[in-house]
Protein backbone atom coordinates (compact mmCIF):
# COMPACT_ATOMS: atom_id res chain seq x y z
CA UNK A 1 0.00 0.00 0.00
CA UNK A 2 1.34 3.44 -0.85
CA UNK A 3 2.60 5.73 1.88
CA UNK A 4 0.14 8.41 0.80
CA UNK A 5 -2.83 6.07 1.13
CA UNK A 6 -1.54 4.80 4.47
CA UNK A 7 -1.29 8.38 5.70
CA UNK A 8 -4.92 8.99 4.71
CA UNK A 9 -6.01 5.75 6.35
CA UNK A 10 -4.41 6.90 9.58
CA UNK A 11 -6.18 10.23 9.37
CA UNK A 12 -9.53 8.45 8.92
CA UNK A 13 -9.21 7.15 12.50
CA UNK A 14 -11.28 9.62 14.49
CA UNK A 15 -12.81 10.02 17.93
CA UNK A 16 -16.35 9.31 16.70
CA UNK A 17 -17.58 5.93 15.59
CA UNK A 18 -19.81 7.36 12.86
CA UNK A 19 -16.86 9.16 11.26
CA UNK A 20 -14.76 5.99 11.35
CA UNK A 21 -17.39 4.22 9.28
CA UNK A 22 -18.03 7.00 6.79
CA UNK A 23 -14.40 7.93 6.17
CA UNK A 24 -12.98 4.41 5.98
CA UNK A 25 -15.84 3.32 3.74
CA UNK A 26 -15.13 6.13 1.32
CA UNK A 27 -11.38 5.66 1.40
CA UNK A 28 -11.62 1.94 0.66
CA UNK A 29 -14.26 2.06 -2.04
CA UNK A 30 -14.28 5.43 -3.77
CA UNK A 31 -11.19 7.47 -3.06
CA UNK A 32 -8.70 5.66 -5.33
CA UNK A 33 -10.84 6.27 -8.44
CA UNK A 34 -12.16 9.69 -7.43
CA UNK A 35 -11.41 12.84 -9.41
CA UNK A 36 -8.37 14.82 -8.23
CA UNK A 37 -10.61 17.67 -7.03
CA UNK A 38 -12.65 15.21 -4.94
CA UNK A 39 -9.48 13.69 -3.52
CA UNK A 40 -8.25 17.17 -2.55
CA UNK A 41 -11.60 17.94 -0.91
CA UNK A 42 -11.36 14.68 1.08
CA UNK A 43 -7.90 15.59 2.29
CA UNK A 44 -9.18 19.04 3.31
CA UNK A 45 -12.07 17.42 5.14
CA UNK A 46 -9.68 15.21 7.12
CA UNK A 47 -7.95 18.32 8.43
CA UNK A 48 -11.15 19.41 10.20
CA UNK A 49 -12.13 18.74 13.81
CA UNK A 50 -14.48 15.79 14.36
CA UNK A 51 -17.55 17.78 15.35
CA UNK A 52 -17.23 20.23 12.44
CA UNK A 53 -16.71 17.37 10.01
CA UNK A 54 -19.80 15.54 11.24
CA UNK A 55 -21.91 18.70 10.98
CA UNK A 56 -20.88 18.99 7.34
CA UNK A 57 -21.54 15.35 6.52
CA UNK A 58 -24.92 15.39 8.25
CA UNK A 59 -25.86 18.55 6.38
CA UNK A 60 -26.16 20.71 9.47
CA UNK A 61 -23.65 23.16 8.01
CA UNK A 62 -23.05 24.06 4.37
CA UNK A 63 -19.96 23.24 2.32
CA UNK A 64 -17.91 26.29 1.36
CA UNK A 65 -16.89 24.99 -2.05
CA UNK A 66 -18.49 23.09 -4.89
CA UNK A 67 -15.83 20.38 -4.60
CA UNK A 68 -16.64 19.85 -0.93
CA UNK A 69 -20.37 19.77 -1.69
CA UNK A 70 -19.76 17.08 -4.33
CA UNK A 71 -17.62 15.10 -1.91
CA UNK A 72 -20.30 15.20 0.78
CA UNK A 73 -22.82 13.66 -1.61
CA UNK A 74 -20.37 10.86 -2.35
CA UNK A 75 -19.55 10.32 1.32
CA UNK A 76 -23.19 9.89 2.24
CA UNK A 77 -23.59 7.40 -0.57
CA UNK A 78 -20.55 5.31 0.35
CA UNK A 79 -21.23 4.73 4.03
Amino acid sequence: MSDALNRLRWRCQRGMLELDHILRGFLDTAYPDAAPATQRAFEALLAMADADMLDLIMGRTEARSAEMADLLILLRRHE
Binding site: M1, E18, L19, D20, H21, R76
Partner: protein
Protein backbone atom coordinates in the same frame (compact mmCIF):
# COMPACT_ATOMS: atom_id res chain seq x y z
CA UNK B 1 -22.65 11.05 19.30
CA UNK B 2 -26.35 11.58 19.71
CA UNK B 3 -26.18 11.42 23.50
CA UNK B 4 -27.03 14.71 25.10
CA UNK B 5 -24.16 14.31 27.54
CA UNK B 6 -22.98 16.50 30.34
CA UNK B 7 -21.08 16.71 33.58
CA UNK B 8 -22.89 16.22 36.86
CA UNK B 9 -22.36 18.56 39.82
CA UNK B 10 -24.71 19.60 42.62
CA UNK B 11 -24.72 23.30 41.78
CA UNK B 12 -28.42 23.73 42.58
CA UNK B 13 -29.00 26.13 39.71
CA UNK B 14 -32.35 24.62 38.72
CA UNK B 15 -33.50 22.51 41.67
CA UNK B 16 -32.31 22.53 45.28
CA UNK B 17 -29.28 20.26 45.49
CA UNK B 18 -26.53 18.93 47.72
CA UNK B 19 -23.32 17.02 46.95
CA UNK B 20 -24.41 14.48 49.59
CA UNK B 21 -27.54 13.64 47.52
CA UNK B 22 -25.33 13.25 44.45
CA UNK B 23 -23.16 10.90 46.48
CA UNK B 24 -26.18 8.82 47.52
CA UNK B 25 -27.36 8.51 43.91
CA UNK B 26 -23.89 7.45 42.75
CA UNK B 27 -23.50 4.83 45.50
CA UNK B 28 -26.96 3.43 44.76
CA UNK B 29 -26.39 3.57 40.99
CA UNK B 30 -23.15 1.60 41.47
CA UNK B 31 -25.24 -1.14 43.11
CA UNK B 32 -23.10 -0.52 46.20
CA UNK B 33 -19.89 -1.68 44.53
CA UNK B 34 -18.50 1.85 44.25
CA UNK B 35 -15.92 2.90 46.87
CA UNK B 36 -17.70 5.39 49.09
CA UNK B 37 -14.59 7.39 49.98
CA UNK B 38 -13.87 7.97 46.27
CA UNK B 39 -17.51 8.78 45.55
CA UNK B 40 -17.60 11.34 48.37
CA UNK B 41 -14.36 12.86 47.06
CA UNK B 42 -15.77 13.12 43.55
CA UNK B 43 -19.18 14.52 44.48
CA UNK B 44 -17.76 17.01 47.00
CA UNK B 45 -15.24 18.28 44.44
CA UNK B 46 -17.70 18.37 41.53
CA UNK B 47 -18.91 21.98 41.93
CA UNK B 48 -15.37 23.41 42.23
CA UNK B 49 -14.24 21.35 39.23
CA UNK B 50 -17.12 22.68 37.11
CA UNK B 51 -16.46 26.27 38.19
CA UNK B 52 -12.77 25.84 37.39
CA UNK B 53 -13.72 24.66 33.90
CA UNK B 54 -16.09 27.61 33.57
CA UNK B 55 -13.28 30.00 34.51
CA UNK B 56 -11.03 28.33 31.95
CA UNK B 57 -13.60 29.27 29.34
CA UNK B 58 -15.70 26.16 28.82
CA UNK B 59 -18.81 27.53 27.03
CA UNK B 60 -21.54 26.03 29.23
CA UNK B 61 -25.12 26.61 28.14
CA UNK B 62 -26.84 29.20 30.32
CA UNK B 63 -30.11 29.63 32.16
CA UNK B 64 -32.02 32.89 31.73
CA UNK B 65 -30.46 34.17 34.96
CA UNK B 66 -26.97 33.60 33.52
CA UNK B 67 -26.10 30.59 35.67
CA UNK B 68 -24.83 27.31 34.20
CA UNK B 69 -27.62 25.32 32.55
CA UNK B 70 -28.42 21.95 34.14
CA UNK B 71 -30.64 19.14 32.87
CA UNK B 72 -32.19 16.09 34.56
CA UNK B 73 -30.61 12.69 34.02
CA UNK B 74 -31.68 9.20 35.05
CA UNK B 75 -30.80 8.10 38.57
CA UNK B 76 -30.63 11.63 39.99
CA UNK B 77 -32.68 12.45 43.08
CA UNK B 78 -33.16 15.03 45.79
CA UNK B 79 -33.14 14.12 49.47
CA UNK B 80 -31.65 10.63 49.08
CA UNK B 81 -34.09 9.02 46.66
CA UNK B 82 -36.84 11.64 46.53
CA UNK B 83 -37.91 13.85 43.64
CA UNK B 84 -35.93 14.04 40.37
CA UNK B 85 -32.88 16.29 40.68
CA UNK B 86 -31.65 18.55 37.86
CA UNK B 87 -27.91 18.20 38.17
CA UNK B 88 -26.12 17.69 34.87
CA UNK B 89 -24.31 20.75 33.46
CA UNK B 90 -24.14 20.89 29.68
CA UNK B 91 -22.63 22.80 26.78
CA UNK B 92 -25.47 22.20 24.29
CA UNK B 93 -25.17 18.62 22.99
CA UNK B 94 -21.38 18.55 22.85
CA UNK B 95 -20.12 18.94 26.41
CA UNK B 96 -17.31 16.44 25.98
CA UNK B 97 -16.12 18.17 22.83
CA UNK B 98 -16.19 21.58 24.55
CA UNK B 99 -14.30 20.16 27.53
CA UNK B 100 -11.65 18.68 25.27
CA UNK B 101 -11.12 22.00 23.50
CA UNK B 102 -10.98 23.98 26.73
CA UNK B 103 -8.34 21.72 28.23
CA UNK B 104 -6.40 21.60 24.97
CA UNK B 105 -6.23 25.39 24.94
CA UNK B 106 -4.90 25.33 28.51
CA UNK B 107 -2.21 22.95 27.39
CA UNK B 108 -1.27 25.26 24.56
CA UNK B 109 -1.02 28.12 27.06
CA UNK B 110 1.17 25.94 29.30
CA UNK B 111 3.38 25.09 26.30
CA UNK B 112 2.76 21.37 26.65
CA UNK B 113 4.72 19.41 24.09
CA UNK B 114 2.48 16.95 22.25
CA UNK B 115 3.76 13.85 20.50
CA UNK B 116 0.62 13.43 18.42
CA UNK B 117 1.49 10.68 16.04
CA UNK B 118 3.12 8.26 18.43
CA UNK B 119 1.69 4.98 19.65
CA UNK B 120 2.62 3.88 23.20
CA UNK B 121 3.65 0.24 23.30
CA UNK B 122 4.62 -0.68 26.83
CA UNK B 123 5.43 0.66 30.28
CA UNK B 124 9.06 0.69 31.33
CA UNK B 125 9.31 -0.66 34.87
CA UNK B 126 12.44 -1.33 36.93
CA UNK B 127 13.03 -4.14 39.41
CA UNK B 128 11.82 -2.00 42.32
CA UNK B 129 8.47 -1.49 40.57
CA UNK B 130 9.01 2.14 39.56
CA UNK B 131 7.50 3.14 36.24
CA UNK B 132 10.12 5.10 34.30
CA UNK B 133 8.27 5.94 31.09
CA UNK B 134 7.02 4.16 28.00
CA UNK B 135 8.27 2.58 24.82
CA UNK B 136 6.49 3.87 21.72
CA UNK B 137 6.40 3.78 17.96
CA UNK B 138 6.47 6.88 15.78
CA UNK B 139 3.54 6.30 13.46
CA UNK B 140 4.87 8.40 10.61
CA UNK B 141 8.13 6.50 10.36
CA UNK B 142 7.63 3.22 12.23
CA UNK B 143 10.67 4.09 14.36
CA UNK B 144 10.74 2.80 17.96
CA UNK B 145 11.28 5.35 20.73
CA UNK B 146 11.80 5.33 24.48
CA UNK B 147 10.17 8.10 26.50
CA UNK B 148 11.96 8.37 29.83
CA UNK B 149 9.85 10.04 32.49
CA UNK B 150 9.63 10.17 36.26
CA UNK B 151 5.82 10.26 35.97
CA UNK B 152 3.59 8.44 33.48
CA UNK B 153 -0.17 9.07 33.37
CA UNK B 154 -2.40 6.77 31.34
CA UNK B 155 -5.51 8.41 29.84
CA UNK B 156 -6.11 5.85 27.14
CA UNK B 157 -9.88 5.35 27.39
CA UNK B 158 -11.94 2.20 27.44
CA UNK B 159 -11.87 -1.00 25.46
CA UNK B 160 -15.46 -1.64 24.39
CA UNK B 161 -14.16 -2.64 20.96
CA UNK B 162 -13.81 -6.14 22.41
CA UNK B 163 -17.53 -6.46 21.62
CA UNK B 164 -19.08 -6.87 18.19
CA UNK B 165 -21.69 -4.23 18.91
CA UNK B 166 -20.00 -1.17 20.43
CA UNK B 167 -20.71 2.54 20.57
CA UNK B 168 -16.99 3.23 20.85
CA UNK B 169 -14.82 4.68 18.08
CA UNK B 170 -12.23 2.30 16.63
CA UNK B 171 -9.43 3.96 18.59
CA UNK B 172 -10.91 2.67 21.86
CA UNK B 173 -8.75 -0.42 21.91
CA UNK B 174 -7.83 -0.31 25.58
CA UNK B 175 -4.12 0.18 24.96
CA UNK B 176 -3.38 1.40 28.49
CA UNK B 177 -5.05 -1.67 29.96
CA UNK B 178 -2.95 -4.00 27.83
CA UNK B 179 0.16 -2.10 28.87
CA UNK B 180 -0.79 -2.44 32.55
CA UNK B 181 -1.45 -6.18 32.26
CA UNK B 182 1.85 -6.82 30.46
CA UNK B 183 3.63 -4.84 33.20
CA UNK B 184 2.27 -7.32 35.74
CA UNK B 185 -0.44 -5.02 37.08
CA UNK B 186 -4.02 -6.18 37.69
CA UNK B 187 -7.28 -4.90 36.21
CA UNK B 188 -10.22 -4.27 38.53
CA UNK B 189 -13.90 -5.24 38.06
CA UNK B 190 -13.60 -6.07 34.36
CA UNK B 191 -16.87 -8.01 34.41
CA UNK B 192 -18.82 -4.76 34.51
CA UNK B 193 -19.66 -3.25 31.10
CA UNK B 194 -22.58 -0.93 30.50
CA UNK B 195 -24.74 -1.83 27.49
CA UNK B 196 -26.89 0.81 25.88
CA UNK B 197 -30.15 -0.87 24.82
CA UNK B 198 -30.65 0.82 21.46
CA UNK B 199 -27.61 0.93 19.23
CA UNK B 200 -27.78 0.43 15.48
CA UNK B 201 -26.51 -3.13 14.74
CA UNK B 202 -22.96 -3.43 13.38
CA UNK B 203 -22.46 0.33 13.28
CA UNK B 204 -23.10 1.01 16.98
CA UNK B 205 -24.60 4.52 16.69
CA UNK B 206 -26.75 5.30 19.68
CA UNK B 207 -30.47 5.88 19.30
CA UNK B 208 -31.23 7.93 22.37
CA UNK B 209 -33.86 7.11 25.00
CA UNK B 210 -35.58 10.26 23.75
CA UNK B 211 -37.14 8.24 20.91
CA UNK B 212 -38.96 6.06 23.42
CA UNK B 213 -39.71 9.20 25.43
CA UNK B 214 -41.57 10.54 22.40
CA UNK B 215 -43.69 7.39 22.17
CA UNK B 216 -41.47 4.93 20.30
CA UNK B 217 -41.62 1.29 21.34
CA UNK B 218 -39.81 -1.99 20.72
CA UNK B 219 -41.08 -4.90 18.61
CA UNK B 220 -39.85 -8.47 18.18
CA UNK B 221 -40.02 -10.52 14.98
CA UNK B 222 -43.63 -11.48 15.74
CA UNK B 223 -44.49 -7.79 15.73
CA UNK B 224 -45.14 -8.07 19.46
CA UNK B 225 -44.58 -5.11 21.74
CA UNK B 226 -42.62 -7.10 24.32
CA UNK B 227 -41.49 -4.60 26.96
CA UNK B 228 -44.75 -4.79 28.97
CA UNK B 229 -43.84 -8.42 29.72
CA UNK B 230 -40.57 -7.32 31.33
CA UNK B 231 -41.50 -3.97 32.87
CA UNK B 232 -45.29 -3.72 33.21
CA UNK B 233 -45.11 -0.24 34.73
CA UNK B 234 -42.31 1.61 32.96
CA UNK B 235 -42.53 -0.55 29.81
CA UNK B 236 -40.30 0.89 27.03
CA UNK B 237 -39.07 3.64 29.35
CA UNK B 238 -37.54 1.32 31.92
CA UNK B 239 -33.89 1.89 32.85
CA UNK B 240 -31.09 1.02 30.41
CA UNK B 241 -30.07 -2.26 32.03
CA UNK B 242 -33.69 -3.48 32.21
CA UNK B 243 -34.38 -2.71 28.53
CA UNK B 244 -31.04 -4.20 27.45
CA UNK B 245 -31.81 -7.41 29.32
CA UNK B 246 -35.30 -7.60 27.80
CA UNK B 247 -33.97 -7.24 24.24
CA UNK B 248 -31.28 -9.83 24.95
CA UNK B 249 -33.94 -12.23 26.26
CA UNK B 250 -36.00 -11.81 23.10
CA UNK B 251 -32.98 -12.49 20.90
CA UNK B 252 -31.95 -15.52 22.96
CA UNK B 253 -35.51 -16.87 22.74
CA UNK B 254 -35.35 -16.73 18.95
CA UNK B 255 -37.62 -13.74 18.60
CA UNK B 256 -34.99 -11.41 17.20
CA UNK B 257 -35.43 -9.83 13.77
CA UNK B 258 -33.39 -9.99 10.58
CA UNK B 259 -31.70 -12.93 8.85
CA UNK B 260 -29.60 -13.73 11.94
CA UNK B 261 -32.31 -12.85 14.46
CA UNK B 262 -29.89 -10.57 16.28
CA UNK B 263 -31.79 -7.30 16.68
CA UNK B 264 -35.27 -5.97 17.42
CA UNK B 265 -37.14 -3.04 15.94
CA UNK B 266 -37.77 0.39 17.45
CA UNK B 267 -41.01 1.66 15.95
CA UNK B 268 -41.69 5.37 16.00
CA UNK B 269 -43.46 6.15 12.69
CA UNK B 270 -46.86 6.10 14.44
CA UNK B 271 -46.13 9.45 16.12
CA UNK B 272 -46.16 11.04 12.67
CA UNK B 273 -43.53 12.31 10.26
CA UNK B 274 -43.99 15.94 11.30
CA UNK B 275 -43.41 15.14 14.96
CA UNK B 276 -40.33 13.05 14.14
CA UNK B 277 -38.88 15.81 11.97
CA UNK B 278 -39.58 18.42 14.62
CA UNK B 279 -38.50 16.59 17.78
CA UNK B 280 -36.06 13.91 16.61
CA UNK B 281 -34.27 15.38 13.61
CA UNK B 282 -30.83 14.13 14.64
CA UNK B 283 -32.09 10.61 15.21
CA UNK B 284 -33.77 10.61 11.82
CA UNK B 285 -30.45 11.67 10.23
CA UNK B 286 -28.57 8.94 12.06
CA UNK B 287 -31.09 6.26 11.20
CA UNK B 288 -31.18 7.17 7.52
CA UNK B 289 -27.40 7.41 7.28
CA UNK B 290 -26.40 4.36 9.26
CA UNK B 291 -29.40 1.99 9.28
CA UNK B 292 -30.70 2.95 5.85
CA UNK B 293 -34.12 3.50 7.37
CA UNK B 294 -36.29 6.60 7.53
CA UNK B 295 -38.04 6.27 10.91
CA UNK B 296 -40.95 8.24 9.47
CA UNK B 297 -41.71 5.19 7.34
CA UNK B 298 -40.16 2.10 8.94
CA UNK B 299 -38.88 0.86 12.32
CA UNK B 300 -35.22 1.28 13.26
CA UNK B 301 -33.20 -1.93 13.90
CA UNK B 302 -31.59 -1.77 17.36
CA UNK B 303 -29.64 -4.07 19.65
CA UNK B 304 -27.90 -3.77 23.06
CA UNK B 305 -24.53 -2.19 22.41
CA UNK B 306 -21.43 -2.09 24.61
CA UNK B 307 -20.96 1.48 25.74
CA UNK B 308 -18.77 1.97 28.82
CA UNK B 309 -16.26 0.03 30.89
CA UNK B 310 -16.82 0.45 34.63
CA UNK B 311 -13.67 -1.49 35.53
CA UNK B 312 -10.09 -0.66 34.65
CA UNK B 313 -6.65 -0.04 36.10
CA UNK B 314 -7.06 0.25 39.88
CA UNK B 315 -6.29 3.70 41.25
CA UNK B 316 -6.61 5.60 44.54
CA UNK B 317 -8.02 9.06 45.32
CA UNK B 318 -4.86 10.63 43.87
CA UNK B 319 -5.22 8.88 40.52
CA UNK B 320 -2.17 6.80 41.44
CA UNK B 321 -2.24 3.22 40.16
CA UNK B 322 -2.45 0.77 43.06
CA UNK B 323 -1.78 -2.95 43.10
CA UNK B 324 -1.32 -5.76 45.62
CA UNK B 325 2.48 -5.69 45.50
CA UNK B 326 4.10 -6.50 48.82
CA UNK B 327 2.23 -5.17 51.83
CA UNK B 328 -1.44 -4.85 50.87
CA UNK B 329 -3.99 -4.69 48.07
CA UNK B 330 -3.67 -0.95 47.47
CA UNK B 331 0.02 -0.14 47.36
CA UNK B 332 0.88 2.74 45.04
CA UNK B 333 2.89 1.95 41.90
CA UNK B 334 5.54 4.69 42.01
CA UNK B 335 5.51 6.92 38.96
CA UNK B 336 2.28 5.61 37.43
CA UNK B 337 -1.15 7.27 37.28
CA UNK B 338 -4.35 6.47 35.38
CA UNK B 339 -7.39 8.65 34.79
CA UNK B 340 -10.73 8.37 33.00
CA UNK B 341 -12.36 5.27 31.55
CA UNK B 342 -9.11 3.30 31.62
CA UNK B 343 -8.95 3.78 35.40
CA UNK B 344 -11.08 2.25 38.16
CA UNK B 345 -11.00 4.36 41.30
CA UNK B 346 -13.91 3.02 41.75
CA UNK B 347 -16.72 5.58 41.58
CA UNK B 348 -18.99 3.75 39.12
CA UNK B 349 -18.90 0.34 40.78
CA UNK B 350 -21.20 -2.06 38.93
CA UNK B 351 -23.09 0.58 36.94
CA UNK B 352 -22.29 4.16 35.90
CA UNK B 353 -24.77 7.01 36.03
CA UNK B 354 -24.97 9.35 33.06
CA UNK B 355 -23.01 12.57 33.62
CA UNK B 356 -20.54 10.96 36.01
CA UNK B 357 -17.88 9.92 33.50
CA UNK B 358 -16.75 13.44 32.54
CA UNK B 359 -16.84 14.31 36.24
CA UNK B 360 -14.71 11.28 37.12
CA UNK B 361 -11.98 12.22 34.67
CA UNK B 362 -11.95 15.92 35.58
CA UNK B 363 -11.90 15.44 39.37
CA UNK B 364 -9.39 12.62 39.42
CA UNK B 365 -7.38 14.12 36.56
CA UNK B 366 -6.85 17.21 38.70
CA UNK B 367 -6.08 15.08 41.78
CA UNK B 368 -3.54 13.06 39.78
CA UNK B 369 -1.86 16.22 38.50
CA UNK B 370 -1.58 17.60 42.02
CA UNK B 371 -0.17 14.35 43.37
CA UNK B 372 2.26 14.01 40.46
CA UNK B 373 3.70 17.45 41.27
CA UNK B 374 4.39 16.30 44.83
CA UNK B 375 5.83 13.02 43.57
CA UNK B 376 8.19 14.85 41.21
CA UNK B 377 9.29 17.11 44.07
CA UNK B 378 10.01 14.07 46.24
CA UNK B 379 11.75 12.16 43.45
CA UNK B 380 13.92 14.75 41.72
CA UNK B 381 16.51 12.38 40.27
CA UNK B 382 15.63 10.05 37.38
CA UNK B 383 16.23 6.41 38.15
CA UNK B 384 18.41 4.40 35.81
CA UNK B 385 16.56 2.70 32.99
CA UNK B 386 16.81 -1.10 33.13
CA UNK B 387 19.05 -2.62 30.45
CA UNK B 388 16.07 -4.41 28.93
CA UNK B 389 13.84 -1.32 28.82
CA UNK B 390 13.10 -1.64 25.13
CA UNK B 391 13.09 -5.44 24.80
CA UNK B 392 9.37 -6.05 25.21
CA UNK B 393 8.39 -3.38 22.69
CA UNK B 394 11.12 -4.37 20.24
CA UNK B 395 9.93 -7.95 20.35
CA UNK B 396 6.33 -6.93 19.72
CA UNK B 397 7.31 -4.80 16.74
CA UNK B 398 9.64 -7.41 15.25
CA UNK B 399 6.98 -10.09 15.58
CA UNK B 400 4.77 -8.31 13.02
CA UNK B 401 7.59 -8.05 10.48
CA UNK B 402 7.33 -11.76 9.73
CA UNK B 403 6.64 -12.69 6.13
CA UNK B 404 3.06 -13.26 5.10
CA UNK B 405 1.36 -16.63 5.23
CA UNK B 406 -0.86 -17.09 8.33
CA UNK B 407 -4.24 -15.74 9.35
CA UNK B 408 -5.11 -12.06 9.10
CA UNK B 409 -5.62 -9.73 12.05
CA UNK B 410 -9.08 -8.37 11.07
CA UNK B 411 -10.52 -11.90 10.94
CA UNK B 412 -9.21 -12.73 14.41
CA UNK B 413 -10.46 -9.43 15.80
CA UNK B 414 -13.92 -10.08 14.36
CA UNK B 415 -13.95 -13.54 15.91
CA UNK B 416 -12.98 -12.18 19.33
CA UNK B 417 -15.77 -9.61 19.05
CA UNK B 418 -18.31 -12.30 18.17
CA UNK B 419 -17.19 -14.44 21.11
CA UNK B 420 -17.55 -11.60 23.60
CA UNK B 421 -20.92 -10.56 22.21
CA UNK B 422 -22.33 -14.09 22.29
CA UNK B 423 -20.71 -15.38 25.46
CA UNK B 424 -20.36 -12.35 27.68
CA UNK B 425 -23.00 -9.87 26.53
CA UNK B 426 -25.94 -8.56 28.48
CA UNK B 427 -26.62 -11.99 30.01
CA UNK B 428 -23.97 -14.34 31.28
CA UNK B 429 -24.15 -18.03 32.28
CA UNK B 430 -21.49 -20.47 33.48
CA UNK B 431 -21.58 -22.76 30.45
CA UNK B 432 -21.62 -19.83 28.04
CA UNK B 433 -18.70 -18.12 29.77
CA UNK B 434 -16.63 -21.30 29.92
CA UNK B 435 -17.26 -21.97 26.23
CA UNK B 436 -16.30 -18.34 25.51
CA UNK B 437 -12.97 -18.78 27.29
CA UNK B 438 -12.29 -21.97 25.31
CA UNK B 439 -13.00 -20.19 22.04
CA UNK B 440 -10.86 -17.22 23.06
CA UNK B 441 -8.00 -19.61 23.85
CA UNK B 442 -8.24 -20.72 20.23
CA UNK B 443 -8.12 -17.17 18.90
CA UNK B 444 -5.11 -16.37 21.07
CA UNK B 445 -3.31 -19.48 19.83
CA UNK B 446 -4.00 -18.50 16.23
CA UNK B 447 -2.76 -14.95 16.89
CA UNK B 448 0.69 -16.41 17.40
CA UNK B 449 0.78 -17.34 13.70
CA UNK B 450 -1.13 -14.33 12.39
CA UNK B 451 0.47 -11.97 9.92
CA UNK B 452 -0.05 -8.59 8.33
CA UNK B 453 0.34 -8.00 4.61
CA UNK B 454 1.75 -4.49 4.82
CA UNK B 455 5.31 -4.23 6.17
CA UNK B 456 5.92 -0.64 5.18
CA UNK B 457 7.05 1.88 7.77
CA UNK B 458 5.05 5.03 7.02
CA UNK B 459 1.65 5.28 8.74
CA UNK B 460 1.24 1.52 8.69
CA UNK B 461 -2.27 1.12 10.09
CA UNK B 462 -2.22 -2.65 9.59
CA UNK B 463 0.61 -2.90 12.12
CA UNK B 464 -1.28 -0.61 14.49
CA UNK B 465 -4.38 -2.79 14.25
CA UNK B 466 -2.26 -5.84 15.07
CA UNK B 467 -0.74 -4.12 18.11
CA UNK B 468 -4.21 -3.01 19.20
CA UNK B 469 -5.49 -6.58 18.98
CA UNK B 470 -2.67 -7.59 21.31
CA UNK B 471 -4.25 -5.19 23.82
CA UNK B 472 -7.87 -6.10 23.17
CA UNK B 473 -7.40 -9.85 23.59
CA UNK B 474 -6.18 -9.75 27.22
CA UNK B 475 -9.02 -7.31 28.04
CA UNK B 476 -11.46 -9.80 26.56
CA UNK B 477 -9.85 -12.56 28.64
CA UNK B 478 -10.00 -10.45 31.82
CA UNK B 479 -13.70 -9.80 31.14
CA UNK B 480 -14.63 -13.44 30.59
CA UNK B 481 -12.61 -14.80 33.52
CA UNK B 482 -13.83 -12.12 35.94
CA UNK B 483 -17.45 -12.62 34.81
CA UNK B 484 -17.24 -16.39 35.25
CA UNK B 485 -15.98 -16.07 38.80
CA UNK B 486 -18.59 -13.55 40.01
CA UNK B 487 -21.51 -15.82 40.86
CA UNK B 488 -24.08 -13.10 41.47
CA UNK B 489 -25.96 -10.44 39.50
CA UNK B 490 -25.03 -6.85 40.33
CA UNK B 491 -25.48 -3.73 38.25
CA UNK B 492 -24.45 -4.40 34.67
CA UNK B 493 -23.29 -7.96 35.43
CA UNK B 494 -26.35 -10.21 34.96
CA UNK B 495 -25.90 -13.93 35.58
CA UNK B 496 -28.87 -16.04 34.50
CA UNK B 497 -27.72 -18.78 36.86
CA UNK B 498 -27.17 -16.41 39.79
CA UNK B 499 -29.94 -13.81 39.38
CA UNK B 500 -29.62 -12.17 42.82
CA UNK B 501 -27.12 -9.79 44.31
CA UNK B 502 -25.06 -11.51 46.99
CA UNK B 503 -23.62 -8.97 49.42
CA UNK B 504 -22.42 -11.66 51.81
CA UNK B 505 -19.91 -12.98 49.31
CA UNK B 506 -19.51 -10.40 46.56
CA UNK B 507 -19.32 -6.97 48.12
CA UNK B 508 -15.75 -6.92 46.87
CA UNK B 509 -13.72 -5.87 43.87
CA UNK B 510 -12.25 -8.34 41.39
CA UNK B 511 -8.54 -8.02 40.56
CA UNK B 512 -7.51 -9.93 37.43
CA UNK B 513 -3.86 -10.57 36.56
CA UNK B 514 -2.64 -12.00 33.29
CA UNK B 515 -0.31 -14.60 34.80
CA UNK B 516 -2.34 -17.83 34.98
CA UNK B 517 -5.58 -15.83 34.84
CA UNK B 518 -5.09 -15.12 38.55
CA UNK B 519 -8.00 -13.59 40.44
CA UNK B 520 -7.64 -11.70 43.70
CA UNK B 521 -10.21 -9.66 45.53
CA UNK B 522 -10.25 -6.59 47.73
CA UNK B 523 -13.10 -5.26 49.86
CA UNK B 524 -15.34 -2.41 48.74
CA UNK B 525 -14.43 0.73 50.70
CA UNK B 526 -17.74 1.29 52.43
CA UNK B 527 -16.48 4.04 54.74
CA UNK B 528 -16.71 7.51 53.23
CA UNK B 529 -14.28 10.28 54.14
CA UNK B 530 -16.48 12.31 56.48
CA UNK B 531 -20.10 11.18 56.32
CA UNK B 532 -21.98 8.04 57.32
CA UNK B 533 -21.87 4.89 55.18
CA UNK B 534 -24.77 4.27 52.82
CA UNK B 535 -25.60 0.69 53.76
CA UNK B 536 -26.38 -1.63 50.83
CA UNK B 537 -30.06 -2.13 50.18
CA UNK B 538 -32.24 -3.24 47.29
CA UNK B 539 -31.76 -1.03 44.21
CA UNK B 540 -35.19 -0.05 42.96
CA UNK B 541 -36.32 2.98 40.98
Amino acid sequence: MSAQGGITAALGNVSEDDWHWHMYDTVKGSDYLGDQDAIEFMCRNAPSAVYELEHMGLPFSRLDNGKIYQRPFGGQSQNFGGEQAVRTCAAADRTGHALLHTLYQRNIAARTQFFDEFYALDLIRDQDGYVLGVSAMEIETGRPWLFESRVTLLATGGGARIFRHSTNAHINSGDGLGMALRAGLPLEDMEFWQFHPTGIPEIGSLITEGVRGEGGYLLNKDNERFMPRYAPHAQDLASRDVVSRAIAQEILAGRGCGPHGDFVYLKVDHIGADTIKERLPGIRELSMQFAGVDPCEAPIPVTPTAHYMMGGIPTNLHGQVVAPERYGPEEGVPGLYAVGECACVSVHGANRLGGNSLLDLVVFGRAAGNHAIEYLRDNPIPRKLPADASDLAAGRLARWDRPTGGERVPALRAEMQRILQEHCGVYRREDLLKAGIEKLNGVEARLADAVIDDHSQVFNTARLEALELENLLPIARATLVSALARTESRGAHSREDYPDRDDDHWLRHTLYSLANDQLDYKPVRLKPLTVETFQPKARTY
